[in-house]
Subunit: 342 residues, 2 copies
DNA sequence: TGAATGAGTTTAATCGATTAAACAATAATT
DNA sequence: AATTATTGTTTAATCGATTAAACTCATTCA
C-alpha cells in the first residue's frame, strides 16, 4: 500500500538508471545531464513524493548529519535553553540533534556516548559528568569530533566552550563586598567538576584579596542525596552560626531555587538579613520578592559557538578551540547596598 | 588508523562467515551453533571492540529505534520536563529521541516532520501546532505511528494524551468562586488550539453554572506578537475596568510568568486585590511571594503513556488510544478565601 | 547400503542510496 | 577518414548489516 518510493522507482518510471536519478536529485554533473531528462526526473520525483532515505545515504556516505547532545538533565532550564540554541544553530546546517541526560552519572554518560556512537552521530556536544575523563579521552583517541560545554577537564586538550567561572564568582563576591557585606557564604556541590572548583576558587580569592578572613564553615558543599534537604540544612547552618553570614552565593540555579523557597517559608528578609547572588538565570529569579542579582551566562553565544566549533571539527579541522566566556553580573534588589537598607 | 570494526573483520579473524557472526552476536539460532565457535566469535568481538553499525542494521531491518519529538519549544519547562520523561521511558525500550521545536508554526512543524520521516524515525510524539491538521492526517494516511500530546484535533481520530482541559479550567474557576471571588477574568491566547478552546469553554461554563454573568471583556485572548507586552496590557485593562476583576485565571505558565512579573512591579497585592490561578507548573510559582494556586498536569503519566502508546503503535497495534488525564488543583496562597483576608 | 535426519555453517540476495569508471553516440579536429 | 573530445548515460561495486535458503558432513534408521 504505502511502500516508500525509492530511486529505483523513479528510475523505472522515467526509464533511466538510478545513477542518473541520483545525480539529478543531488545536482551533480549538472553540465553533463540532458536538461529535459533532468526535468522529467525531477517532476517524477515530486509526483511520486520521493524522499531520500537518509539511512541509506548515511550508510554510503558515512555522514548522518546528526549531533549528539549530552547534558546533565534536559529538564533543567539551563540545559534546555542551551539545547534550543544548539537545535537552532544545528538546523542552519541541516543537522538534527539527538539528546540524552546523564544525571551527572559517569555510567549513564558512558552508555549515552556508546549509543550515540553506534548511531554514528557526526559529533557530540557534551556537558561532561564527573569522572568521565577517560570517556572523553577515548573519544579523542577515536578521532570523534566533540565539544565540551559548560564544564571541561583542564588537563585535557579538548575543544570546550564554558564560562570563566573563576572570574564570575570573583566578580559576584567582589560585588557583595563592595556593597558592604562582610560575612559571605557559598553553597555549592561537593564535586570535582572543574567549573564548580573554579567557582569555589573565585569565591575564596575574592574574600582573600579583600582581606576578609574566610571561615571554613562559610562554604557548604552538598554531597549526593536529595538537594532540597541539603540546601535547607546548609542554609540553616549558615544562618545560625554565632556570627551568621550576611550574604550568600548560590552556585547554581537549582541550589538557588531550593534556597529561595526555604528563605520564603522561613520568612528571612532579603537583602536586609541576607543578601543573595546566584549563578545562572531562571524566570523564577524575577518572581522572588527581591529580584535576584545573578550571574548571567551568555547561553546564546555558548550554544552557537559550541555548535560551530563542532561542525568545523566535523569538517576535518583539527585545531583545538577552547573558549571561556565572561558572565554578566545582573545587579538587582537582592544585593542592595548594606548601609542604605530599604 | 581507526577504521571501524565490522562483522567482516570479526568473521575474517575467526575464520567464519559474517552470517555466523551476525547470528551469534544477535543470539539467534542458539541451538544450532557450536558453542565453542560462538564463544570465539564473542571473544573476538570484544577484543576488537566491535560495535554494531546501527545505520546498516536500520537499512536492512527498516527500524531505527528512534522517536521524533516535536514540541512548541524545548526550552519551555513544560516541554523540557515532558522531554525528559519521554527520554527515560523511551530508553527503557532502547529508543533514542530526536527533538525539534516548532515554535507553534505550521511551516516549521511541517519541515520537522519531513526531516524526521526522511531519517526514518519509527514514530513521532507531537504537540501539534495550530493549523497542522493536514500534516497530522497525512501522517495517518502514510501509516506512520504517532501520538499527539498536550493538544489534539477533536475531529481527527488519532492517538492522543492530553489534559482534560475543560474540566481543569472549570475546576479552577469553581474554586475561585467557592473562595468568594466573583469577577473572574482569564488571560489566554487567541488560538484555535483545542486545549486552549477547552480551557476557555471550561472557564465560561463555570461562570455560567454559578450564575455569574460573564462580562465580555473579562476574557483576554493574546494575539501574536510579543507576549510580554500583551500580557501587561491585558492585565492592566482587566484591573482598570469600572468594576475590576478580583481574580484571574492564566492559561499557561508563560502567561503567568509575565503576569506575575508585572504584578510584582506594579505592587498589586495577591490575593487581596487579585486572586490568581494558573495552568501548568513551574518552580517560579513557588517563589512568588504568594505561592500560586495552579493546575498541575500529570506530566509523568502523560509522557509515559504517550511513549508507551507510541511504542505499541509501532508494534503494529492499530487501535487508537485517546487519553484525557485530570489535572490536579494545587491550592495555595494566591487564592486565599476572599472573606478572611490576611 | 542407501536414504533420511540433523547439526553446523556458508551463500548470496537485499535494504537504498552513492559514485568511480566504463561505455555509446555524436561532434570536433587534423 | 581516422582520431580525439565531448556529451549523456549506464554498469557495477560499495557501505555493513540481516536472513532465507542452500549446502556439507556426520549420524541414524530401515
Amino acid at each position: 500500500m504505502n511502500k516508500r518510493v525509492s530511486l529505483k522507482d523513479i528510475a523505472q518510471k522515467v526509464g533511466v538508471s538510478t545513477a542518473l536519478v541520483s545525480y539529478v536529485l543531488n545536482n551533480q554533473k549538472q553540465d553533463r545531464i540532458n536538461k529535459e531528462v533532468a526535468q522529467r526526473i525531477r517532476n517524477t520525483a515530486k509526483e511520486l513524493n520521493y524522499r531520500t532515505n537518509l539511512i541509506a545515504r548515511s550508510l554510503k556516505t558515512n555522514k548522518t548529519f546528526t549531533i549528539g547532545l549530552i547534558v546533565a538533565d534536559i529538564s533543567n532550564p539551563y540545559f534546555s535553553s542551551l539545547a534550543r540554541i544548539i537545535e537552532d544553530e544545528a538546523d542552519k546546517y541541516n543537522y538534527t540533534v539527538v539528546f540524552g541526560s546523564s544525571d551527572e552519572d559517569a555510567q549513564k554518560s558512558g552508555k549515552l556516548i556508546d549509543v550515540f556512537l553506534n548511531r554514528h552521530v557526526d559529533g557530540l556536544i557534551i556537558a561532561p559528568a564527573q569522572a568521565t575523563t577517560e570517556q572523553i579521552l577515548s573519544l579523542q583517541q577515536q578521532d570523534i569530533p566533540f565539544v565540551l560545554i559548560d564544564r571541561y577537564f583542564p588537563n585535557c586538550k579538548t575543544n570546550h566552550v564554558a564560562l570563566d567561572d573563576y572570574k564570575a564568582a570573583y566578580t559576584a563576591v567582589k560585588h557583595l563586598i563592595d556593597r558592604g557585606y562582610k560575612r559571605i557564604g557559598m553553597i555549592s556541590y561537593d564535586s570535582q567538576l572543574f567549573n564548580l572548583q573554579e567557582r569555589k576558587r573565585g569565591y575564596l580569592a575574592a574574600l582573600k584579596d579583600n582581606t576578609i578572613p574566610h571561615k571554613k564553615n562559610w562554604l557548604r558543599e552538598l554531597g549526593s542525596g536529595p538537594v532540597r534537604q541539603a540546601v535547607e540544612k546548609s542554609l540553616q547552618e549558615l544562618l545560625s552560626l554565632t556570627q551568621p553570614v550576611d550574604a550568600i552565593l548560590f552556585a547554581s540555579n537549582t541550589i538557588a531555587l531550593h534556597g529561595l523557597k526555604h528563605i520564603n517559608t522561613m520568612g528571612i528578609r532579603v537583602p536586609e538579613e541576607l543578601a543573595i547572588v546566584s549563578f545562572d538565570e531562571t524566570e523564577a529569579f524575577d518572581l522572588f520578592y527581591a529580584p535576584l542579582t545573578y550571574i548571567k551566562q551568555p547561553l546564546l553565544e555558548m550554544g552557537q559557538m559550541a555548535t560551530r566549533i563542532l561542525l568545523e571539527s566535523i569538517g576535518r579541522n583539527n585545531k583545538i578551540t577552547q573558549v571561556n566566556l565572561e558572565g554578566e553580573l545582573i545587579i538587582r534588589q537582592s544585593t542592595t547596598p548594606k548601609t542604605k537598607k530599604r
